[in-house]
Symmetry: C2
Subunit: 524 residues, 2 copies
């Protein structure tokens, strides 16, 4: 399969004319065919206008009709496995097994939303029936449900070319909500993006939907993305990437005549708190698990652990030494792009140059390859210096030595917003864990115990998000069925005749939804 | 009851030292006793620090414990009725019956949230149980629920001195969520604000809660409010008022090192679409109902109708003439403040001076009194001139004459975000109403038929909010139990031992909540 290198605008294609770029093979350091053409301004305009035109009919589909569409997308993605295996490893440096797993995850996300829509109760239908005889004033009939906000701009992430990119979680949740999507391809994997877009477009056609339900734009720089966020038809933005990128989009969106929300997932250092009894009882096992988590995917996960906090005492040295051994033995791994590899080297270099860190592991990182790095710092320094808790995207962590439990708790209480925090504990640590928990739940989206933060399950209970700066709005998750909430808003219908109501709110409850009727949840 | 004129900082009081101001009787045009002292910077700091200190224990209360607290507030508010009746009519110009009604509504809001908390399922508990044998990877145990975001700043609204002010819906929903509140009194009703704050503070004491759960700050200008929004302890803002005020707070909040959400409800023109058959069959009855809605509370409601769109034809003249008659006969009514009355006169003057409007009613508005105004304009002009659809806060409406149904639909499709839209229809209008509905639901928070938009029911299905500029974030309602969603975010617990989980997520379901277990809603 060889791509055309042109944006997909509804059922059509863009044209050459704008700046161009190519994919790049990070493992071999060579540019890839074909050349991709950035969308021209009139193509951005057309994609957004088509999305606006598609919005009413797409939003008016029943949840169940949209479920069928999502199933079609899942099928089309899986059917393209051979194509993805031909292009994605080349342009990302990721191994075939990872691409296979991620494809399954991407398809699985669409299927999980399809299941949510099939059941249908996610619309949070609320019905307060009329009370014509109420004194002093009668009550009207009031019915509300969640409805699509309108076209959503989705920015593909570099680090999950399938599961968080063009056909990733943002696209799946926006389409599930009933919002047309205009996606902006990440320039690090244009061929993968094009192939994923073709799969979605095939599903749009197969289901007879308006072509504006989905478009994909290529961008050689930041111009296309910026015009997309500024376009009046766009009602919300989904983004996964760097803090700088996310904040730039937030500023653009807030400065619009009509501001719109940006859901930017910007990563974090995902602190690990190793409690004393656990540290004493199983230092090597924990170090093994954490080293594997730090090394996984060359550390290029939003949830990669970057700060390991332990109290000095029994097990501490063994824990650190085992980490040194494991991370030191790992070969330098290809990173996703040259830029990511350069930034990783800069970050590692900054930590190595500090007088308040001790360099434990720092291998040779060349070209697009990054070698794991480990530093050690005293908790007093971590408390004093914000630079020690800034994310270095890649396999890089700082072991933080606390003198006592109070200092460990202080480190927790100074954390900025995080996607995750992990507590390693034994039964004897339970009371300390109970003390730590409120501090962590105030600062993170997901607290986990005796596990590793990498590996984000796609399920109803998942929260992948967290207080700023982990994400732009910690009230929403980017992963799991809860992600649909980002792209809907409630609309209330007062005294609207039954025949004009959406089926979700009709008296007969034709879809058999769980609904809150006069304050009571029921399915009748 | 005579106020002290000093801020309420936790269990203590502020001190004189900052700028001062007084309440003002709009009906008599005289200043009121006592003099109020703006909170000094150290008092803002102390109120916010106390709120931050109170946050963990307040959030850790069970929903049911917080329900008891809310019931105490409702009791304390009702017990202070005589005090409110002594001060509120004087400083607002509102009649006694309105104050009594609003007090009932304010207390009722706390009770409605108490009921929601008693039942408890609002936390949206989701449980995905571990699958240790799943292939290729086991699934961890994942459980999530909504938790308080932390201290909330609440700005009292001028137009509802009880139901949307210090003890109003924002405070009720924030406290219900488990968020301490630092309220900023509206300078138009300081005595009412002080009395309401004393009621909440009495409930804090009666329930043995941390004093930081509630504080009230006075402000002579905008300094105190601005420092409040900038304070790092504040995690969200609730505001009801003008678009200028709301946008200023949005800008402040977005510029913080850690941005926070502002829930600003900024009003709208609440368009009314009168469909042809209804217009022909009952022009006078609709005019009577709409005139009463326009005149209600001197038009000082967020939901007051400001744009009446009808197609010329049978009933049109009778409708307009009856409106002219009713609005022309209404005496000038005292408005809440001199500033509001001045802005109303300016707005009416601007509409009267235009060449594309015809002045139908324009009484004498003097001092703090406002006389109802009615203008007529052709739909073509309304479509061409944004100024004709800008809100004039007060009893002021523009009758818009459409030449045909298509023009009426075009007016609807050009609307900016609105709190409400109303359709007046008969059975013969149903197909036109069906055409209009998707356009309206895309632009408003609440669509109503054959009613008036004033009168916002407090109930689970209510949506009081709408796309910008009606509110800053149309994904949330400011009225009804859904308002609690503004001040919570989901937190996920992965493999956390049952003993360390909040009761809402424990295996035994000790609170008998409705929970989503492995994707299925159940109560076991």
């Amino acid at each position: 399969m060889s791509g055309l290198g042109l944006s997909l605008i509804g059922a059509g294609r863009g044209e050459p004319g704008g700046p161009t770029f190519t994919g790049w093979n990070p493992a071999e350091g060579v540019a890839l065919e074909p050349r991709y053409h950035a969308a021209r301004p009139e193509e951005v305009e057309r994609a957004c206008s088509l999305a606006a035109a598609a919005a009413p009919s797409f939003a008016a589909l029943s949840s169940r009709q949209r479920a069928v569409f999502l199933e079609h997308i899942a099928e089309a993605l899986l059917a393209a496995e051979a194509d993805f295996l031909a292009v994605t490893p080349k342009e990302t440096g990721l191994p075939v097994a990872r691409i296979q797993g991620e494809l399954g995850r991407a398809a699985g996300q669409f299927r999980q939303f399809a299941k949510l829509l099939e059941e249908g109760s996610w619309v949070d239908a609320r019905i307060d029936r009329a009370m014509p005889d109420r004194k002093p004033l009668p009550r009207a009939d009031l019915r509300s449900m969640l409805r699509a906000v309108g076209p959503v701009a989705v920015f593909g992430a570099s680090n999950f070319p399938l599961a968080f990119s063009v056909a990733g979680g943002d696209t799946a949740s926006a389409l599930a909500a009933g919002c047309p999507v205009v996606a902006k391809a990440h320039p690090a994997h244009p061929a993968t993006s094009e192939r994923a877009a073709l799969a979605i477009r095939a599903a749009v056609a197969a289901c007879g939907l308006h072509e504006g339900v989905f478009s994909l734009l290529f961008d050689a720089g930041t111009e296309v993305g910026a015009s997309l966020v500024r376009h009046p038809a766009i009602r919300a933005v989904g983004f996964t990437g760097s803090r700088g990128g996310g904040q730039a989009l937030m500023a653009l969106a807030a400065a619009r005549p009509v501001p719109i929300p940006v859901f930017a997932e910007m990563g974090s250092i995902n602190p690990i708190f190793i409690l004393p009894s656990a540290l004493a009882s199983r230092p090597q096992a924990m170090a093994d698990a954490l080293a594997a988590s730090i090394l996984q995917g060359a550390g290029q996960f939003c949830t990669s652990p970057g700060l390991l906090v332990a109290v000095e005492g029994p097990g501490y040295e063994a824990f650190r030494e085992r980490l040194v051994e494991k991370l030191g033995a790992a070969p330098a791994a290809p990173m996703l792009t040259r830029t990511i590899a350069e930034r990783f080297r800069e970050g590692v270099g900054r930590l190595a140059a500090r007088s308040d860190t001790r360099t434990c592991v720092k291998g040779e990182s060349q070209a697009a390859r990054g070698a794991a790095a480990l530093f050690e710092a005293e908790a007093t320094h971590v408390l004093a210096e914000h630079a020690l808790t800034e994310e270095v995207f890649g396999s890089c962590a700082v072991v933080t030595r606390a003198r006592d439990v109070a200092e460990l708790l202080r480190v927790a209480s100074q954390l900025e917003g995080q996607l995750t925090a992990t507590v390693m504990m034994d039964a004897a640590d339970e009371s300390l864990a109970a003390d730590l928990l409120p501090t962590l739940t105030d600062r993170v989206g997901r607290v986990l115990m005796n596990g590793v933060p990498t590996g984000v399950e796609v399920c109803p209970a998942m929260v992948h998000g967290g207080p700023f700066p982990a994400s732009s709005d910690g009230r929403f998750t980017a992963v799991g069925t809860g992600a649909i909430r980002r792209f809907v808003r409630p609309v209330c219908f007062q005294d609207v005749p039954d025949s004009l109501l959406p089926p979700e709110l009709r008296a007969e409850n034709p879809l058999s939804l769980w609904r809150t009727v006069d304050g009571v949840l029921k399915r009748e």
